[in-house]
């Protein structure tokens, strides 16, 4: 049996996790609001490029962020560049504020992307009317901020979920978090029921927050990855020095979140270790990663579309599925094994099919939410007209298919592409579930990356992150140009 009440250490771990998650959500939101508004309303050179580049931190394992910062601080200490603050730097990194800073740099792109798209979705007419009677700053305060509030709250909650289920960075920096307690409970067979009970707690917390969120925003779309605006609705004119300052601030954020974690260990590798790239990976591992990410992401889209039409459109279905995102991956993996490891499923269990099914179930809630909010933003007249055109024919199934092909598909294509891209990235960087259900003889870059971690081979880890980045970009760009997903395809 297990205790319903948490022990002191479990409560302390839950408090640590909550504080870290809330703080990371808050700071990510702040950075994202600044970035989204600056990149939307200030004429900065390279705006579109920055919008893309600021998503790259999502591909870098948070562990690598922590490693790189630790190496940098130790390097500065060894060469006495920090002076009397040397040991303070290391102590700061090994504290809760240090963990918050690192996870903020790792996860702020989630908030940034959602908020940026929300800004671009504000109706142009609204902005045009407001700008006639008010200054840009007031328009930002009275129109833009309230309009993007639902998306901001969703962005904060998603960042909260991702941070809550992260344990490797807090463990590396010496802090006990709730997921570590769940891991520990799984190590003793007698405590598995306790582990399962602990796993449900974050689901309930997140479920409660979703209920409050949906109550607050009603039927307004929580977020969307498609966008209406292609041009800057209005530009805030400001002194050139301020524009330059904002530009360099954005560049600095990019440097801290992307160039630094990738660069520190690469430089160390070049100067001291000279580890050849060929040792980082192999063709088999790269092929596995590409294949599983590509196939799984397409399957996730197909599965999510099915789930969306059957369950997701009801409010209870939405809350239930979104809350499942907070279930710790280790619990998910173990439940999956119990569910599918049966003789009748043998032909699936020991093949990559099992991984694909696991990814579909794990990431479907995110994709369903994208489809749901996108549907709310489509002009309903399109569907009304289409129904009128196709309703008269006696060949109903064929006409329904034609309506889907001619009308629904083009309207959903942008969100389907973006959802596929997100799914691709999520699958390519997924570790805990992969470790538990990967078939024998199968390995991906991310599992290989964490294996080499044990040897203190941070340089190899950094090289493999670059490999992961390159692999992820290639198919995304290929599909982007194949389907010519561009301004013309948006409504």
């Amino acid at each position: 049996m297990f205790n319903l009440l948490l022990t002191n250490i479990e409560m302390s771990a839950l408090i640590n996790s909550s504080i870290i998650s809330l703080a990371v959500s808050f700071f990510s939101l702040s950075i994202s609001l600044f970035l989204a508004i600056s990149l939307s309303f200030v004429r900065i050179p390279g705006r579109r490029l920055f919008s893309f580049l600021l998503l790259i931190p999502l591909l870098i394992p948070p562990y690598l962020h922590a490693f790189s910062w630790m190496h940098l601080v130790m390097f500065l200490r060894d060469y006495k560049l920090l002076g009397p603050l040397s040991n303070f730097g290391i102590d700061l990194l090994n504290s809760i504020p240090g963990i918050i800073a690192i996870l903020t740099l790792a996860y702020f792109p989630i908030s940034f992307f959602i908020i940026r798209q929300a800004v671009k979705n504000i109706p142009q007419e609204l902005i045009d009317a407001a700008i006639q009677v008010a200054k840009p700053a007031k328009v930002l305060k009275r129109i833009v901020i309230p309009a993007i509030l639902p998306a901001s709250l969703t962005a904060a909650l998603l960042t909260f979920i991702f941070t809550f289920i992260t344990f490797d960075v807090p463990a590396f920096l010496g802090k006990n978090v709730f997921i570590t307690q769940i891991f520990k409970s799984f190590t003793f067979t007698g405590e598995v029921p306790q582990a399962l009970y602990l796993s449900i707690i974050p689901v309930f917390i997140v479920g409660a927050i979703w209920v409050i969120l949906l109550f607050l925003v009603g039927e307004k779309p929580l977020f969307s990855l498609s966008s209406r605006q292609k041009n800057t609705p209005f530009a805030i004119r400001q002194p050139l020095p301020l524009t330059v300052f904002i530009f360099f601030l954005i560049a600095f954020i990019f440097f801290l979140s992307t160039l630094l974690p990738l660069g520190v260990l690469q430089i160390k590798n070049l100067l001291y270790e000279k580890v050849p790239f060929s040792t980082a990976s192999s063709l088999g591992v790269i092929t596995n990663t590409l294949s599983i990410s590509l196939v799984s992401s397409v399957c996730i889209i197909l599965f999510s579309t099915f789930v969306y039409f059957i369950f997701y459109r009801k409010r209870l279905g939405r809350i239930f599925f979104l809350s499942l995102l907070a279930l710790p991956p280790i619990t998910y993996g173990i439940l999956f094994i119990y569910l599918f490891n049966r003789p009748s499923f043998n032909s699936i269990y020991s093949t990559p099919l099992l991984l694909i099914i696991a990814y579909c179930l794990r990431f479907a809630p995110l994709v369903c939410e994208l489809l749901f909010t996108h549907r709310q933003q489509i002009n309903p007249q399109y569907f009304e007209s289409a129904r009128l055109v196709y309703a008269q024919s006696w060949r109903k199934p064929r006409q329904t298919w034609r309506m889907l092909q001619m009308i629904v598909l083009p309207l959903y294509l942008p969100v389907l592409f973006l959802a596929w891209m997100f799914s691709f990235w999520l699958v390519a960087t997924e570790l805990p579930i992969t470790l538990l259900v990967q078939p024998p003889g199968f390995q991906t870059i991310i599992t290989r990356l964490f294996i080499v971690l044990h040897y203190g081979a941070e340089e190899l880890m950094s090289l493999m992150t670059l490999a992961l980045l390159s692999i992820s970009l290639f198919p995304i760009l290929t599909v982007y140009f194949f389907f010519r997903i561009d301004k013309k395809n948006d409504q």
Partner: protein, 357 residues
């Protein structure tokens, strides 16, 4: 509604439908190729779960494949899963085992699997040549290629005269705030603490760790991180394993390895073998037995001794390099693994309540 806009949308839809059809077709063709080879399982293969580091284990498995022609399909564990990933997987798969054998890099989780009824009895060819400390008396598991729990000391920060020779030295004021240890809830540190519980008894062990905590004991997430902190000079002394220290010695980092408590009257140190075991209900049991025989052999132990992991052969007369001591030259902790396993949960519980908070 704008009819031109509607017409454009419909035209796009026709082209899009075809493109999407090609994409989905390509995806499922890839899926079929991807999984086809997995569907065609053969009897001449063996599935092994491996907790030992992949870079050391893989050459051994590849050599076995080459020598016997039996295809090896391996699942490796990572530091991130805290060595419990594969154990949990084996327990979850109990009713329909997928693995044929398990190559673990320690013993306590092996005992847990034995208690869970996951293992089957198999005594390999060289079983009788091994010391009873490194094998199961009933034949459920067999040890090979061991490492030991040691102290890693930064030589730039601690000269020879001030270095500790025993675990109990670490409570001295001289080492205040300078000792680091991995979280015992995962990995070999837990086994070490449990072994002390078994040997010293509850009271002495708890007083020792409370004194360490009072002396500023630092807890980190892994043995690798213990090593890294001592190498970086952030701490001067760490508890870790021989293979972690060897990584640093090969890189010529300013550290030295000390086997604690080796003098007369002292308790010795924990020697932790790799363990190989047959899974009950294995689909390729004969091949699994061949692989276990291969692992518990002179050739494998010598290869692991000469590798970066520098692990000590347990079989007599195995060729090893100069930096790898003979296991008989090390005074081991005289406590059985079943006893260590029994004390693991109370040890971890004590640590959680008194040291980690």
């Amino acid at each position: 509604m704008d009819s031109v806009c509607m017409l454009n949308t419909m035209n796009q839809g026709k082209k899009l439908g075809l493109k999407l059809f090609y994409l989905v077709l390509a995806t499922f063709a890839l899926l079929a190729i991807f999984t086809f080879s997995s569907f065609t399982t053969s009897q001449n293969e063996v599935v092994v779960y491996v907790s030992h580091d992949q870079d050391y284990a893989q050459p051994i498995l590849e050599a076995f494949e080459k020598d016997t022609g039996i295809k090896v399909k391996a699942v490796f564990d990572t530091e991130a899963s805290k060595t419990v990933g594969l154990t949990n997987r084996l327990i979850a798969e109990k009713n329909n085992p997928q693995a044929d054998l398990f190559w673990n890099n320690e013993v306590v989780r092996t005992i847990q699997l034995k208690k869970e009824g996951i293992l089957d009895v198999y005594r390999p060819r060289n079983y009788d040549k091994l010391n009873s400390l490194y094998k199961d008396s009933e034949g459920y598991w067999t040890g090979f290629a061991a490492r030991a729990r040691v102290l890693i000391v930064n030589t730039d920060l601690l000269d020879k005269t001030n270095r500790p020779g025993s675990l109990e030295d670490l409570t001295k004021p001289l080492f205040a705030g300078q000792v680091t240890l991995a979280d015992p809830r995962f990995g070999t540190t837990g086994s070490h603490v449990a072994a002390l519980y078994a040997l010293w008894g509850k009271e002495k062990t708890e007083n020792f760790f409370k004194a360490l905590k009072k002396n500023g004991l630092d807890i980190v997430s892994s043995n690798g991180q213990t090593r890294d902190k001592v190498v970086a000079g952030t701490k001067r002394i760490g508890f870790t394993d021989t293979d972690d220290v060897n990584d640093a010695l090969i890189k010529k980092d300013p550290v030295v390895m000390i086997y604690p408590d080796q003098k007369d009257g002292q308790v010795g140190t924990l020697v932790i073998p790799n363990t190989a075991m047959l899974i009950k209900g294995a689909k390729h049991a004969d091949n699994a037995k061949k692989l276990i025989d291969y692992l518990i052999s002179d050739k494998t132990e010598s290869a692991l001794a000469f590798a970066k992991s520098a692990q000590m052969p347990l079989l007599p007369g195995v060729d090893r390099p100069g930096n790898v001591p003979s296991v008989s030259s090390i005074k081991p902790l005289a406590v059985g693994w079943e006893e260590i396993y029994k004390n693991l949960k109370p040890a971890i519980s004590f640590f959680e309540k008194n040291i980690l908070q």
